[in-house]
């Protein structure tokens, strides 16, 4: 019997939206306040949705403690209280929340203890969020 288990995590990080592919003026026009050279930060909420069969013995799609360990190790330790622009994943990739969402999905998709990663949602603020479910 397939069900889904979802879990929300919070991480705080800074970023600056800027690409060398555009001029300084074009960057300012494209990214507005987010192009501030000194960067700015968010409390991101990362929502992980795992799908799979409910184990008849445990009643679980995935053990939350094990999922927490994986997310902690692969996502939180990597991004929490960091400057996203300095992460190797964002050297040639603007750390928009779209790209952060996809990066989180890629970091987790083969690392889950069981079940399948169905979707990652990253909320940048209460009013905007991004979702990625793989290709």
């Amino acid at each position: 019997m397939k069900a889904h288990f979802g879990r929300r995590y919070m991480l705080s990080a800074s970023h600056r939206l800027h690409t060398d592919a555009l001029s300084a003026e074009e960057n300012r026009a494209t990214y507005g306040k987010c192009n501030n050279p000194h960067g700015h930060g968010h409390n991101y909420v990362v929502e992980v949705l795992v799908g799979g069969a409910v184990d008849p013995e445990t009643g679980m799609v995935v053990n939350m403690a094990t999922l927490d360990e994986v997310v902690q190790k692969r996502v939180m330790e990597r991004f929490d209280h960091t400057n996203l622009n300095l992460d190797s994943l964002f050297v040639n990739c603007v750390p928009t929340t779209e790209n952060l969402c996809r990066a989180v999905f890629e970091l987790l998709k083969d690392a889950l203890p069981c079940g399948e990663l169905e979707r990652v949602r990253v909320e940048e603020t209460e009013n905007n969020f991004f979702e990625y479910a793989g290709e």
């Binding site: 069900a3 929300r8 409910v54 013995e57 445990t58 009643g59 679980m60």
Partner: protein, 139 residues
Amino acid sequence: MIELTRRATFSASHFYWNDAWPAEKNEQVFGRCANRNGHGHNYTLEVTVAGQPDPVTGFVVDLKWLKDVMEREVLAAYDHRHLNLEVAEFAATVPTTENIAIAAWKRLEPVIESAGGARLSRVRIYETAEIFAEYRGEA
């Protein structure tokens, strides 16, 4: 097609325990949730139905009707109850968030189905603001 979602809250206690396992394994797998004295949550039940808006009323379903169905079929059985001890479907099934979502679906689906309008699309149960499970029926 339009999806329409209604939320309701209920408060209940539970613990996680599999009688087929020794105590040590229960404690190892379920951690703090294996405390046999139980613990509780304020759950949120989120029910999504899907269908076409009625050409006369503009409703996918009457929200008051859906509220009553949720209260009668789920909240009346779960609210202010000990799920392990007082709810039949958890006598031999661990009341994890996943299993509560499935059980709530089974309670709601026949009633919504027999009404002949919208179909049940998803049941989501929040155990806390950070933890939820959802069930969409057997695909």
